[in-house]
Symmetry: none
Subunit: 507 residues, 4 copies
C-alpha cells in the first residue's frame, strides 16, 4: 500500500463513480481531547465495516484538514499523521469496497467548499434517487462553472459519474447564502435511500439518519464531549457512554452551544436485518437488542428448524461462532473448534503467488485435524453469498477426515440485491439466485444444508417485522427505488439488476 | 506496510545488546517460486510469535538482500518490497520483544560478511553461554579489525554488548578459509542454550536446532522445494506438507544438491512445555501432539482438579478458548462467549490518547453484558503472568453484572524466569513469585482461582516428563546456565536471577 | 502557605480578561484586632466558594498592602505572611476559577490608585454590562495615559481585555476630585449584573450589593468592630454576631465615624437559588433560611416526587448529605454511608501520575463495599453538571456489588448558563442540554434517575418564587443581559449563548 | 510553615529524643512508575494517621534522596519536590505528633549509612526495650566514632536521647560485613514492642511487622510493582489490589528478583483495638473486618447498652458518624446532622489571635441551630480523652438551643497509657483516670453519658479477644514493657507513667 505519499490536502470531487458501500462512520466533538486519536480508535472498532480505505477529517475551528488512504485503519495512520490532525471536531470513515485497486480518491471523508468554509462528510448507506439529486444540484447552483472546487462540473453531473457521497457533499456545500445547518435541513428531505451521515463544518458536528433508519447510527457521550458512530461498540472503545440512537429522520448538531436536534422527515423505521445477521459487531446493541444474543438465538432456532445427528458443532470463525453456540446449546451436540482463523489476516494487498493462490481458504482458515477427524460435523455460518468459501471449506474438512459435513446457515438464502448499502455481489454471482436449496447443497458439497426461516431470523432480532428491511431475502423493497425504475432498461422482474460488478471479498 | 523510512539495505551488527526473544523463523529453498511471497505468508502464520518487527532476506544465488522493519508482517511489507526481493532462497523472521523504542537495528535476519560472501541468519531462542562464545569469537578471529563490516569489534566483544544473534552470526561469518557449512559444524557444538536457527549463504539454506530441541523447528516439502519453519501451521499456509521435525542437535543444509543432514551434538530432548500451553498456534503439531488437543485436555483436567458450581464457562479469547471448551465438556457447564475480542488489534504504533489510555483492557476485549449478567462464570485462561489482565477483566465482568467469577488457569503458576527464550517479565513482575494462590486470587479479585497441577499439564501434552522443560513452573533448569553461574554475584539458590528487566508486552 | 514565589507587592491590573467567578469575600474593620488573622479565618470558612487563589489586603491607615497567590487559604498564608499584614482594616477574597494556569495576577483583592491613595477591592459575581462600563470608563477618564499604574490603558479598555473586577476598580479609582465613597455612589448605579463587593481605601471599609442581591453578603459585629462576609458561617468562625444582610442596592461604609448606609438603586431581590442547592455552606443562613434545612427539605420533596423501592439511601458526600438525610426520613428507607471521602483532598497542585490518573474518582471517594454490596441504593446528589462524576460513581458502586443504583438529584436539570457568577461549564458540556432525563439516565448508567421539580426546589427555600433567580434551570433571566444582547450574533432564542469556554473545575 | 527552605539532603541522626508516634508508613517498589507520586498519594490517604510532618525517600538504584518537612502532605510536597525524587523504590511517612514547634529533624524517613550504601526507614509504633537496644547497639559497633554519619555517637547512646526510629536505623545501618537483609534478620528478633517498618536500601524494599502485629501493615500489588502501607485505604488510592497483611513476625523483601518472605519471630497476634475505634480510616479493612462496619456495630451496641429517649442522633463529625448511624438504626431515633465540620481545617500552623482563640471548637465545628434547637440530642463520639472537646461542644449545642444532650461513646473510658504507639496524653490528662462515669458526665456537662462496654467493643471487631490489645482500656499489657520496668522509679501502680507530656492535638 502506498503509504509513502499519504496525502494531507483538500479533497477534489472524484471524476469516477464509485460503488455503493457499507461503511463505518464516526464523529466526535470534544474540545480538549485528541479528537484524531479518538476517531482512530473509533474507526478501529468499526474496521469490520470497511477494510479498503480509511480517513479522518479534523477541524480546529478555523480550517479542516483531511487525511485518507487505502488500507486498514492501522495501516493508513501513524502517530505523525494523527498529530498533524489537530482540532476539536473530527469525522472519520472506513470504507468497505472499491472498484479499482489503489483509489484513495474514493476514500472518505469528502470535502466541499461552502460559503463560509468547508464541509467534510462521511457516509454509510446508498442513495436511491441520485438522478433526481443530480438534477436538484444543477437546479440549485446553475451558474456553477465546471471544475469549481468542491463541486462536480455540469459535465460530471450529466455523465452521472459521481458518487452518492460527492452528490450529498455538493448539495450541502453549494449554498452561498445559508449556513450548513440551514442547507442540510433544506436538502435532506429530498434525499432518498439509506444514509447515516456524519459531517461537519469548521464549527459544528452534524449527524443525520435517513427516515427509515436503515443503517445504524448512535449517539454517545464523552466526559466532555459527544460522539456519533455507526455502532455502539465504537462508543465503548473510546469510553463514551451510550446515550441513544440517532432517530430515523433526525438531524443533530453539536457545537459550543450543545446538542440541537431537529427532524427533517417523519420516521418510518426499516432497520436492516442483515446488521443483526452479519454486519454489526456482536457486542453492538441495535434497537435495544445485543447483536450477539440475536445471533445465538438464530442458532437455537436453526437447531429446531434443521436438526441433525452429529458429533460436533463447529463455527466458521468468527462470524459463525454465536450461532454455533446457540445451535450446540439447543441441540445438545457438543460445541468445538474445528477451524483456526489466521488472527492477523486483514486485508493484505499482497497478491498471492501462483503456489499460494491455490491454497485459497487456507490463508484464512486451518482445520484442526484431530478435532474433525472421524466426526460428523455441523458447520454453522452466517450466510452463503457465492458459495465459494463453503465449497472450499467442506473440501478441506473432508480432507482432514470429517465423516459428514452438515451446513447450517443463520440467515435465509440471499437472493436479492441490496440497494441500501450492501454490495453482496451481482445477482448473477449470488448462488441462491435461481437455485433451490438442494442445488446449493450439491454445489458446495455438503451432506445436508439448512437455512434458517425468515420468520426465525426475524424473531431472533426481537424487532417487529414491519420495522425491518428484509429485501435481500424477500425481494420486497420497503423504500422506493427511483433510480432503479428510471434506468428502465432493466427491471427487478428480469432479475438483472444494474448493480456494477465489484471485486468484493470472498466472504 | 512500508512505513515512511522502511529500509532496504544491508544490516550492520548493532552495537547494543538486545534482549533474548521468542520469535518465529522461516526458510525456503524453491527455485522457480516467489520465495519472498512464500516467506511473507509463512511469517504471517507465525505472527503470533513476534509482533515487534519482521524481516526477510533473499538470495538470488549471487547476492543477498534483506528488508526488515518494526511492525507487523503486513505493515512491514507491501507488494513492491516483496517484488524487490527476487531469488530462490529466503530466510524470514518475526521478532517478539525489544528493549528500546523503534529499533529496526535489532530486527532480523542479521547479516555477516563471510569469506565467500554473506550469511543471513534468523534465530529463535536464547543462548546460555554467551560469555564463553564471546571468548571463542575473540580467540578464533583475533586479528579482526574493529568495525569490520558484519562483525563486532574487539571492543564490542569485550564489552559484551552484542545480541546472541550477532554473536552466532559473527562466529559463522568469521572464517575466511572454510565454507559456511564447515564453520557452522565446527561452531555449533560450542553453543549452549536454546536455538532454532534458519540461515543461508548465497547458495544454501541451513537449519539447526539445539541438542535439547527446546524451541520447535519443522521441515516441510513443497512440490519443488523445501521449507523450514518454527511451526507446522506455517507449512500449512504455504501448502507444504509436513515432513518431520528438525531433530535436536541436527544441522541440515539444502541446496541444488538436495538435503544433507548432520549431527553436531547428541539429542537430549527437553521441549518447552509452554509451547503447548500458550506459545504455539493451536493448529500446530509438536512432537506428534496437536497443540489444540493438548489445550482442550488441559481444560478437561482443570475441570476435574478445580470443579465449581457455575452457569457458564467462557474463555479469555483467543488463547483461553480450547481449555474453556475442555472445561465445559468435562464439567457439563455450558460453554459461551462472554467477551468479544477486537479482531484488528495487533500492534498499532499509535499511542493511546489520555482519554483512551484509561480504557485499558477495553481496547482489546468488550464484555457481552447480556451473556454475563447475573451469571456465575468460569473464566478460563492459559496463564497468569502479572495478573493485570485478569484483574481488569474481572472488574469489567463484575461491572457487566457477573455474579461470580471463578478463574481457571490451564498452566501452573509461573514463578521462575525462562533462560531459553521467553521473556515472561522480570521475576518481580511475576505475580506468583512469593505469593500463594489465595493471595493471587485476592489480588486479581476472583471468587475462586484454580491452576492446573504440573502433572495434569504434562499429561495433557502426551510427552514423557523427562523430555520436557518445565523450568518456569518448577525452577528445575534441565539445560546448563553457564552465563548465570558466571555472573557470580547472584545464584539460583538465592532465588536472585540476573534477568535484565525488559519492557515486554503484557501478553 | 507561601509557595516559593509567594508575592508581596502591589497589584497591577492584568492585561487579560479573565472569566467571571463565584468567590468568597470578607472584610473587617476592627482597630486593636489582628485583622489579617481574622480575615484568614473568615476566608477559611469561605474556602468552599473558591479554591484556586486567595488574597488579603490590609490597611494600617496610611498604606495598603496585599498578599495573594494561587492555592488554598492555608497554602497561601503562613504565620509570617499574616504578621506582615498589620493594620485595622482588611479585605479578603477566595477565588473560584481561572482561565489559564498559574495566574496569580487574577487573584484578588485588586488594587487601584485613587486621588487620595489606593483602593483594594474584592468581588463576587459577574457584571452584565461590561461593554457599557468600558465606555463609561473611557468617558470619565479620557485623559488617562496608557499604562498609568492601577488602571487599564485606553487601548486595554478598547480591546476589552480586562476583568470585571478591574473595570470596577478602575471606575472607583479614577476620580481625582472625589472621595472613594462619592465615586462609588456615582458609579454603582451604572453597574449591572451580580456583584457583592467588599472594598476599602486607607481609612474606610465599604460593602455593596447589586440591586438584585443575587449573591449573598452579610454584616456582622465583633465586640470592637464590624465584619462583612459572603456567608454567615464566616461570621460564626470569627465570633461575630449576625446583624443583617447587606440589602440589595445598598452601599455601606464603616470607619472611625461608625457605619453609614446609603442606597444607590431600588431593591429588586432575585437571590440565586443555587446558593441554597449547592454553593453556600449548610450552616449558612440566607434570607432567614438555614441552608441545611432547605437541603433536607429538598430531599424530603425528592422522596415524594421520585419514590423507589430500595434498601439504603446514601449521599454523595458531602454536598449530597442533607438531601440524603431528608430523602431517608421521608421515604423510611435507612440512611447510610456508602462512600468515604478523602478528607484532605482539596487542591493539591500535584499532577497525578499516569497510574494515578486512571483512578479518577477514587482519589476523592472510596466505596464501602460491605455497605453497598447486594443493596438497592438511592444515591442523592445536589446536581448533575457534566455527568462525569455520577457516571464514574455509579460504575464504582456497581463494581462494589450494588444491585441497583437509583440517582436522585436535589435540583432540576441545569440547562442554561449563569451570567451572574457561576461557571457551570459551557452549554455543550452540560449533560442536560439537549438530552432528556432518560438519556441522561442512560448516559450515567443509573437504574433510575429523578430530579426534583422546580416547584419543589423553590418551596424548600421558603422564598417567594419572584424573589429568586432560577435562570440556570429555567432559561428565564430576571436581570438584563446587555452584554449578551450587544454581542449580537448570538441570541438567547437561538440557544447559542456566547459564554467563553473556560477550564472550570469538574464539580 | 517553613516551605521556602524545604530540604533535600541526607538526614543526620537527631540529637533529641522525640516522642513516640502513631504514624502512617508507605513503601513502593515499581520500576517505570513515578514512585514519589504514588507515595505522595499513599501518604495522602494516610494523612489522618499523622498531620505534623511528612517525608518521602526515593532510591534510583544508586543513591537515596529524602525530602521531608513539617506540615500536611500537600503542604510539604509540590510538583518540583516530587520530580526531584526520581527512582523506582520509595518509602514515605506521615508523622503524628511532635514535642517542639518546627522540628523537621524528627520527620521521617530517617537515613543511615550502611556498608554498601544507605538505609532509609519509616516507622509506625513504639519500642518497649529501647534501653536494651541501645546496649545492643554499643555492643555491636563499639569502635564507631562519635558523630560518624548515620549513627548516634557513644555519648548520644549513653544519654539515651535518640528516637526509636534512630535506634533501629542505627542497628540496621551499622554492620559493614552484611547486607541490610541479613542485618535486619539478625536484629529484628531483639526488637520488642510495636513496629510496622518500611525501609529500603538502594536496591530493595523491606517491610517488617512486630510479632504481635499491633499496628496494621498490608501488602498490595500494582500492575508492575508492589506496595506496602499502614492501611488498605492507601492501597486503594494508588490502585493497588489488596493481597494480604504482612504477618506478625514477618520480614518481606522486594526487589528485581521478586518478593521474598521470612519469619524472624513466632506470631502472637495482638492487634490494637483502638485502630477499629478511631485510628484507621473507615474504608480500611483490618484482619478481614471493614472498620466502618465495626464502628456501625459499636453504635448499635451502644444503643442497646445505653438507650435513651431522644429526638435526634447526631455524630461528632467525622469520627463519630458510623457509630451514630448504628445508634440511630438500633434505637429507631432519627439520624441527623447537627454539626458542620469546617472541611478544609487540617493543621494550619496559624496561631489563633486573641479574639479567635476563645472561639475554640468553632474553628472546627459549627452547630446547625435549626436542627438542634428544641431537640433532645444523642451525640455520638468515638472516645473521650481529655474531655475538653466534649465540654465545649455541649456548651455550644446548648447555646444553640438543644434541650438535652446525651453523650454516647463507642469505646470504653481510656484510662491507661499506650506503650505501643498512641500518644493519648499523659495519664494525668486523661479525664477518665480516677474519675467515675458520673464524674466525667458532670465535668463535660452532659445530661447523660454512656460508654460502650469492653465486651461490646470487642465483639464489634469480630476478632477473638485474645488476639487484641486492649491495654488502654484495661491496663493489661499483653506485650512486655522492659523499658517501663527498668525505669524503676515510677510504677504502673502509682499511675505515674513516665511518658513525656506532649502538645497533642485536640482530636
Amino acid at each position: 500500500m502506498a503509504r509513502g505519499d499519504g496525502r494531507l490536502n483538500h479533497d477534489l470531487l472524484p471524476g469516477e463513480k464509485g460503488p455503493q458501500d457499507a461503511c463505518g462512520v464516526f464523529g466526535v466533538w470534544a474540545p480538549g481531547e485528541e479528537v484524531s486519536k479518538l476517531t482512530f480508535y473509533g474507526l478501529y472498532a468499526l474496521q469490520h465495516r470497511g477494510q479498503e480505505a480509511a480517513g479522518i477529517a479534523v477541524s480546529n475551528g478555523e480550517q479542516i484538514l483531511v487525511f485518507k488512504d487505502t488500507g486498514l485503519v492501522s495501516q493508513v495512520f501513524d502517530e505523525s499523521a494523527l498529530e498533524s490532525l489537530q482540532g476539536h471536531i473530527a469525522v472519520g470513515h472506513t470504507r468497505y469496497s472499491t472498484t479499482g485497486g489503489g483509489g484513495w480518491e474514493n476514500a472518505q471523508p469528502t470535502l466541499g467548499a461552502t460559503a463560509g468554509g468547508t464541509v467534510a462528510l462521511a457516509h454509510n448507506g446508498n442513495l436511491t434517487n441520485s438522478f433526481a439529486l443530480r438534477e436538484l444540484l444543477a437546479e440549485r447552483y446553475p451558474e456553477q462553472p465546471a471544475g469549481s472546487p468542491g463541486r462536480p462540473s455540469a459535465g460530471e453531473i450529466a455523465r452521472g459519474n459521481t458518487t452518492d457521497t460527492a452528490i450529498i457533499t455538493a448539495l450541502f456545500a453549494g449554498d452561498p447564502d445559508h449556513t450548513l445547518e440551514a442547507t442540510a435541513s433544506e436538502v435532506l428531505p429530498h434525499v432518498e435511500g439509506a444514509f447515516s451521515l456524519v459531517f461537519m463544518d469548521e464549527h459544528t458536528l452534524y449527524a443525520a439518519r435517513d427516515r427509515h433508519g436503515i443503517r445504524p447510527l448512535v449517539l454517545g457521550r464523552l466526559d466532555r464531549g459527544w460522539v456519533v458512530a455507526s455502532e455502539t461498540a465504537a462508543l465503548d472503545i473510546v469510553g463514551a457512554s451510550q446515550v441513544r440512537e440517532i432517530e430515523p429522520g433526525e438531524l443533530i448538531a453539536i457545537d459550543a452551544d450543545g446538542l440541537r436536534s431537529s427532524r427533517f422527515a417523519e420516521a418510518k423505521p426499516k432497520g436492516c436485518v442483515f446488521e443483526y445477521v452479519y454486519l454489526a459487531r456482536p457486542d453492538t446493541t441495535i434497537s435495544g437488542r445485543v447483536v450477539h444474543e440475536a445471533r445465538v438465538e438464530m442458532g437455537r432456532t436453526l437447531a429446531r428448524e434443521h436438526p441433525v445427528e452429529a458429533d460436533l458443532v463447529i463455527p466458521t470463525p468468527e462470524s459463525g461462532t454465536p450461532a454455533a453456540i446457540g445451535y450446540a446449546e439447543a441441540s445438545g451436540i457438543p460445541y468445538g473448534q474445528g477451524l483456526v482463523k489466521n488472527a492477523y489476516v486483514g486485508r493484505t494487498f499482497i497478491q498471492p503467488s501462483q503456489t499460494i493462490r491455490q491454497l485459497g481458504i487456507r490463508l484464512k482458515l486451518n482445520p484442526l485435524k484431530n478435532v474433525v477427524h472421524g466426526k460428523k460435523l455441523v458447520v454453522v455460518d452466517d450466510s452463503i453469498v457465492r458459495g465459494n468459501t463453503q465449497r472450499a471449506l467442506i473440501r478441506m474438512l473432508r480432507e482432514a477426515g470429517a465423516l459428514e459435513v452438515h451446513v447450517r446457515i443463520s440467515s435465509p438464502p440471499v437472493t436479492w440485491p441490496c440497494f441500501y448499502g450492501i454490495d453482496f455481489a451481482t445477482r448473477a454471482e449470488l448462488i441462491a439466485t435461481g437455485l433451490g436449496v438442494e442445488d446449493v447443497r450439491t454445489s458446495i458439497g455438503a451432506d445436508s444444508l439448512g437455512y434458517i426461516s425468515p420468520e426465525g431470523m426475524i424473531e431472533a432480532t426481537e424487532q417487529p417485522v414491519e420495522k425491518l428491511c428484509t429485501a435481500c431475502f424477500s425481494g420486497t423493497y420497503p423504500v422506493p427505488l427511483p433510480d432503479v425504475e428510471r434506468l428502465g432498461r432493466h427491471s427487478l422482474d428480469a432479475r438483472r439488476i444494474p448493480i456494477t460488478p465489484v471485486a468484493s471479498t470472498t466472504r
